[in-house]
């Protein structure tokens, strides 16, 4: 019955013409969004003569794996073994995500569930910091890094990621939905705050973890440690990829292959976690 009612109201407020034109708009804009990506994917499988074809063609005619083979060849000859670049990126991304999820959740729990002096104020500052981008603090950040001795180590990229404000913000909003009765019951049973956080709150915010993970992953996977990391053997996959892409005409095919590999990882991750991420975002109100 309920279902029928919904169907009927839907029909009342929707015109066929409207549906059609909005759907067309969606398709046109969707192809604008996706065509460059399709072009990028196809380029990775094009033989060199097809990449430099006039007029250019979106889709590949004779797909080949040559570009990937060339890539492996090229990497075999590089000064720093390619596995090192992979390890660097995986290490930076993994550590950054782990630390951020732990620290941001620990900080979000009291902000969401307790009332204490200064709590509101601290949260306001985090919200304020969403309003400006990292470029503003780039120069003092460098000085601070060099005081602590983080320059030319992984930590210059990893540790600031721990304190990424958007993650704390989303986590706090999500934690507010946990029913208080659950926490109170645990408290009456004699659990300490830390125990409550670890055994009750954390398992309940798994969807929010995933969101934090994908946001951080995006940020760290694409970071090249620019300005902080100078040693060749500490540089990231992204840096190596950029060097290959910068190789110019002769490397165009290999560059496309690298780009495809780099972009497929975050997209795959998103596909598998989409529904959970949307769940977290649903709570992302800019309330104060």
């Amino acid at each position: 019955m309920n279902f029928l009612l919904r169907l009927r109201t839907k029909r009342v407020n929707r015109s066929l013409f409207g549906n059609f034109s909005l759907f067309m708009l969606l398709c046109v804009m969707g192809s604008f969004m996706v065509l460059p990506l399709i072009y990028a994917i196809n380029n990775a499988f094009k033989p060199l003569d097809e990449i430099f074809l006039f007029p250019p063609r979106l889709f590949v005619r004779n797909p080949t794996m040559d570009n990937f083979a060339d890539l492996i060849n090229l990497l075999g000859n590089s000064w720093v073994p390619f596995s090192r670049y992979i390890f660097n990126t995986v290490f930076i991304t993994g550590m950054g995500i782990l630390g951020h999820v732990l620290l941001a959740s620990a900080a979000a729990y009291p902000l969401a569930k307790h009332k204490f002096p200064g709590g509101r104020f601290l949260f306001q500052i985090v919200v304020l910091s969403l309003m400006f981008s990292g470029a503003v603090t780039a120069i003092p950040n460098y000085m601070i890094m060099s005081w602590i001795g983080f320059i030319d180590t992984y930590w210059a990229v990893i540790v600031p990621a721990f304190a990424f404000p958007l993650g704390l913000y989303l986590m706090k909003q999500f934690m507010e939905q946990i029913p208080d009765a659950l926490l109170e019951a645990a408290k009456i049973d004699g659990a300490s705050e830390y125990r409550i956080f670890w055994t009750i709150v954390m398992p309940n915010v798994k969807p929010a973890w995933l969101t934090l993970i994908i946001l951080l992953f995006q940020m760290l996977w694409g970071s090249d440690g620019n300005g902080f990391i100078y040693s060749e053997q500490l540089k990231s996959l992204h840096y190596a990829a950029n060097q290959i892409v910068m190789g110019g005409v002769a490397r165009a095919g290999v560059g496309a292959a690298v780009a495809l590999i780099l972009m497929s990882v975050p997209i795959t991750l998103f596909v598998f976690s989409q529904s959970r991420i949307l769940e977290t975002m649903a709570t992302s109100g800019m309330k104060d």
């Binding site: 009612l5 919904r6 109201t9 407020n13 929707r14 015109s15 409207g18 969606l26 969707g30 969004m33 460059p36 990506l37 072009y39 990028a40 074809l53 007029p55 250019p56 620290l103 941001a104 620990a106 900080a107 009291p110 902000l111 569930k113 009332k115 204490f116 002096p117 601290l122 304020l128 969403l130 309003m131 981008s133 470029a135 503003v136 603090t137 120069i139 003092p140 950040n141 601070i144 600031p160 304190a163 404000p165 958007l166 704390l168 507010e176 208080d180 926490l183 109170e184 300490s192 956080f197 694409g222 780009a259 780099l262 975050p266 997209i267 989409q274 949307l278 975002m281 109100g285 800019m286």
Partner: protein, 322 residues
């Protein structure tokens, strides 16, 4: 409401312990802090790092902006000199400000509205299509530095996709140096920036639309809501106010911070500074010329621009539906 409940319960639980009756405001605060020491301990690691890498740099940036500092000598106090030089003597900075405001006023609102409209249309699709379309629109912003693909599209020779097609269709006879011609640089960067801009805000909108109470639409239909536009205006938008705020902050902040796309596509420096933004100007003075005082002044101006415009937008949005 919820928080105050928890508070009451805690006082019930801890009532057994003898505690000295607070007699002053400070005494009460002190007791409250003591009672919540677990909260502070849980928050400490994050907050220490947050202060170290976000709050302290902002404060430092403001202080350094009043000095002459080249990283070698001790900073020398120069008062407002950096700011005076910035606004009165630095022609390139004025170009950068102009470009940045152009970005913020074009890509900010357009990306914001686009985020909402696409999220809104996608929300009407069946779940499978919804997931697919979300991916289509979100993929560009998530896939890292793929905007180099636009470098191939707007490449200056006839193998560039844009030139290739325009020549094939007979619109052009000669290839155009898209990214080396002043007039085309900004529009192209704006286009690419828009392509990249359906990110976190877009996801928040999609999710927010799914949480709007279905029964409101039914009630609306009974009350005489005639078409989808009225439904949007009277029911959907007011129910999504929190997400609208969140999206506005995210979109505006990113549109003020354009630099990667500009540097990557138009080069650094770009032809006749046509693609200079406040951030690229800051990078120029900070990492190439080592004028730290001056670049901190640029950073401070940018900080004020970003936070100021965000607060104004929030104030405006808060009025929607009141």
């Amino acid at each position: 409401m919820r928080q105050s409940n928890l508070q009451d319960n805690r006082s019930v639980i801890t009532a057994g312990e003898p505690s000295p009756q607070p007699n002053s405001w400070w005494g009460m605060k002190k007791n409250a802090i003591k009672a919540n020491k677990h909260s502070y301990i849980l928050m400490a690691p994050y907050m220490i790092l947050f202060s170290l890498f976000t709050i302290l740099p902002v404060v430092m940036s403001i202080i350094i902006s009043f000095t002459y500092f080249n990283m070698l000598e001790f900073p020398r106090f120069v008062g407002w000199q950096n700011y005076i030089r910035l606004f009165l003597e630095d022609d390139v900075f004025l170009i950068a400000i102009k470009n940045t405001l152009l970005f913020a006023t074009i890509t900010g609102p357009i990306s914001y509205i686009a985020c909402f409209i696409f999220a809104w249309i996608i929300n009407e699709l069946s779940p499978k299509w919804r997931a697919f379309m979300t991916l289509v629109f979100y993929a560009p912003s998530i896939s890292g530095n793929v905007f180099f693909i636009w470098l191939m599209i707007f490449s200056g020779d006839r193998y560039g996709v844009m030139n290739g097609f325009l020549i094939k269709w007979g619109i052009l006879l000669e290839p155009i140096q898209w990214l080396k011609t002043e007039a085309y640089i900004m529009p192209i960067i704006i286009l690419v920036q828009l392509w990249l801009s359906l990110g976190t805000g877009f996801l928040a909108f999609i999710a927010g639309l799914q949480t709007v109470d279905r029964t409101l639409y039914e009630a609306g239909a009974v009350d005489g809501v005639k078409n989808r536009w009225q439904e949007l205006w009277f029911i959907t938008l007011p129910s999504m106010k929190p997400q609208l705020m969140f999206g506005a902050v995210i979109q505006l902040t990113t549109s003020f911070a354009v630099s990667d796309v500009s540097i990557y596509l138009a080069g650094f420096p770009s032809v006749n500074y046509a693609a200079q933004t406040v951030v690229t100007h800051l990078i120029d003075f900070g990492t190439i010329r080592f004028e730290m005082g001056y670049s901190s002044a640029i950073a401070t101006v940018l900080f004020i621009m970003m936070v100021g415009s965000n607060l104004i937008i929030q104030k405006l949005l808060r009025k929607v539906g009141d």
